[in-house]
């Protein structure tokens, strides 16, 4: 099992916000994840990188309750959770920024913000006025939408890529998530928008919340993550604290992992073990 001993010079008092142990998942006889172990600590930004087909998105969908693992345990703040579903995961404080994939284009901003979690009375009737008001407040405070043409009733069709990204992020933030998962959040963003997004991820850590950042771009991940998990063909090839590895070292490791089946050579001063 691959581990890293970043804890040696820190005192770990809090339990991990999220603990995955031996997560295994197959689709139609093809094993996508082979016993993945991951810890996410409170106030930590964890980078998750790996080539296409490494199992990143499957792993994320298991954490968010979209898929159920074939084997393995998931613990939130030390408490094991069985049969995780999306509503359950959201109730446990996991929110995910799936970028545009999880927005409904023809629907208004307020309907998108409250998608799957509308404010409703016991009979299921919506409190539209309250949802509109909260959306208007979020637009002003968190999204920084100043254009008078944008209202809570504006359809997503009318938003730019950056505005849509903002909407997806604000939705995750609004529900006071303890764990925010960002799935390829910089895809399709301009340089300025990317910069803004990375500052936002820093803000998650500053607020004492945790985040998992999945990105193809190792530079983006490296610049904000505390530790980087390299996933390779369904296994954790290693976990690397960014405080100890330079970007060049990490890039070299990733290249090696991609070339060979598994990263095997421990780097100097590291305690990263090989994955069996």
């Amino acid at each position: 099992m691959s581990t890293s001993d970043t804890d040696s010079n820190e005192t770990v008092t809090a339990q991990p916000a999220l603990e995955l142990r031996g997560i295994t998942k197959s689709f139609g006889g093809v094993r996508v994840l082979h016993g993945v172990d991951i810890d996410l600590r409170p106030g930590e930004v964890l980078g998750l990188v790996g080539d296409n087909g490494a199992g990143k998105s499957t792993l994320i969908k298991i954490i968010t309750g979209v898929h159920q693992p074939d084997a393995g345990t998931i613990r939130f703040h030390g408490r094991p959770v069985e049969g995780l579903t999306v509503p359950r995961a959201r109730a446990l404080g996991v929110e995910t920024v799936y970028q545009e994939r999880a927005l409904a284009e023809q629907l208004s901003m307020w309907r998108n913000i409250f998608m799957g979690r509308p404010i409703a009375n016991r009979l299921g009737f919506l409190n539209v006025r309250r949802m509109r008001r909260i959306t208007a407040a979020l637009m002003g405070d968190s999204m920084g939408f100043t254009s008078a043409a944008l209202t809570p009733d504006t359809n997503v069709t009318g938003l730019s890529g950056g505005e849509r990204q903002g909407l997806a992020i604000v939705r995750a933030l609004h529900f006071e998530a303890a764990i925010i998962i960002l799935d390829e959040p910089t895809m399709g963003l301009s340089l300025a928008e990317t910069e803004k997004l990375l500052r936002f991820v820093d803000g998650i850590r500053a607020a004492g919340k945790s985040a998992i950042l999945i990105d193809h771009n190792i530079f983006h991940v490296y610049s904000v993550a505390d530790r980087v998990v390299v996933l390779d063909r369904g296994r954790v090839a290693g976990t690397f604290p960014t405080a100890r590895y330079s970007l060049d070292q990490l890039t070299a490791i990733m290249r090696e992992v991609a070339a060979t089946a598994v990263y095997t050579e421990p780097l100097p001063h590291s305690t990263v073990e090989a994955e069996a």
Partner: protein
């Protein structure tokens, strides 16, 4: 000025389609009144519309929700008749008309449940499933009644009869039921969790799944509602003519679909209009009567019918493009 206080323009934009269809309806009606004042200024034709249009408009309302959710139901004409088999079975044994109507509605709900279950559990597109169940339900009706028609003279005058096809202050009960159903479906579609979820599913199924929206449950409930409405409309129709024949409902498939699409509901899901469906139903209901009253030869009916439907669809497409940023 806050963002919330300038919402009028976008709101107007989102209503453009509904304003468009309402204007088209008014123009069409003025044309009918000008060309056939004797018919279209007589209260009797409105009484007739109030009785006959609800038979398919009642189904068009929940069908609008099904289509918003990205599905379709083509089986409802058969459900209209199958529900009456349930009515006959219960009414003939208990001599109770009201229980019979209840039985019809239960049969309609079960027919909708089967549609929804096959679509969501087995995972077959609703278009194909409901073509199959359309034959299945019609076939079941024919087998169960041995292809016979039934006179329903005995229902006349019963409380159930008066509640379904009687009059209230001169207004046909069919129309009153339709207005009630329109208000209820509007509330469900725009002001209820069910409609919110239906909109998301119809717009983006993947998003709905990622955000934890119950896909199966939502889709099944909408099929059940359509089945219930179809069976209820079938009972109304049979009561009005005091007769049940196993082919009942067969002619309602296209007018019902036309009412929904003329009303501006998107074929692709995610967007629909209850008001549009309501107006659309009366447009469709009025066209046939209008063509006859204006004195155009019967041969032209389908031609004009098709033309008006296509014009309405084009108006929606153009308004949609122009008023959506």
């Amino acid at each position: 000025m806050t963002a919330a206080s300038v919402g009028y323009l976008p709101t107007l934009r989102s209503w453009a389609s509904q304003i468009g269809i309402t204007a088209a309806f008014i123009v069409l009606w003025i044309v009918f009144i000008v060309l056939a004042p004797d018919t279209f200024l007589d209260s009797r034709i409105y009484l007739s519309f109030g009785q006959t249009t609800p038979y398919f408009a009642l189904v068009a309302l929940p069908l609008t929700m099904v289509i918003v959710c990205g599905d379709i139901d083509l089986s409802f004409p058969s459900t209209m008749a199958l529900g009456m088999v349930g009515f006959l079975a219960v009414e003939r044994t208990t001599q109770n008309v009201e229980l019979g109507v209840l039985a019809a509605v239960v049969v309609g709900a079960l027919a909708g449940l089967l549609n929804g279950a096959i679509v969501t559990v087995i995972g077959i597109p609703s278009l194909v499933v409901t073509i199959g169940t359309q034959f299945l339900y019609r076939g079941l009706t024919l087998v169960l009644v041995n292809g016979r028609s039934y006179a329903l003279v005995e229902v006349e005058g019963t409380p159930g009869y008066r509640l379904m096809v009687g009059r209230l202050f001169g207004v046909p009960m069919q129309f009153i039921w339709l207005v009630v159903a329109a208000v209820v479906t509007w509330l469900l579609l725009y002001r209820h969790r069910l409609g919110q979820n239906a909109h998301v599913i119809g717009d983006n199924k993947q998003a709905a799944a990622l955000m934890g929206i119950p896909l199966r449950g939502t889709r099944i409930i909408l099929f059940v509602l359509t089945g219930v409405a179809a069976a209820f409309a079938g009972a109304m129709n049979s009561f009005q003519i005091s007769n049940f024949y196993p082919a009942m409902g067969a002619g309602y498939l296209l007018p019902t679909l036309a009412a929904v699409f003329v009303g501006g509901t998107s074929v692709f899901g995610g967007r629909g209009s209850i008001w549009g469906t309501f107006i659309g139903a009366f447009m469709i209901g009025g066209i046939t009567a209008g063509i006859v009253a204006v004195g155009i030869t019967d041969y032209y009916t389908n031609l004009i019918y098709g033309g008006i439907v296509l014009i309405a669809l084009c108006i929606h497409a153009i308004l949609q493009r122009r008023f959506t940023r």
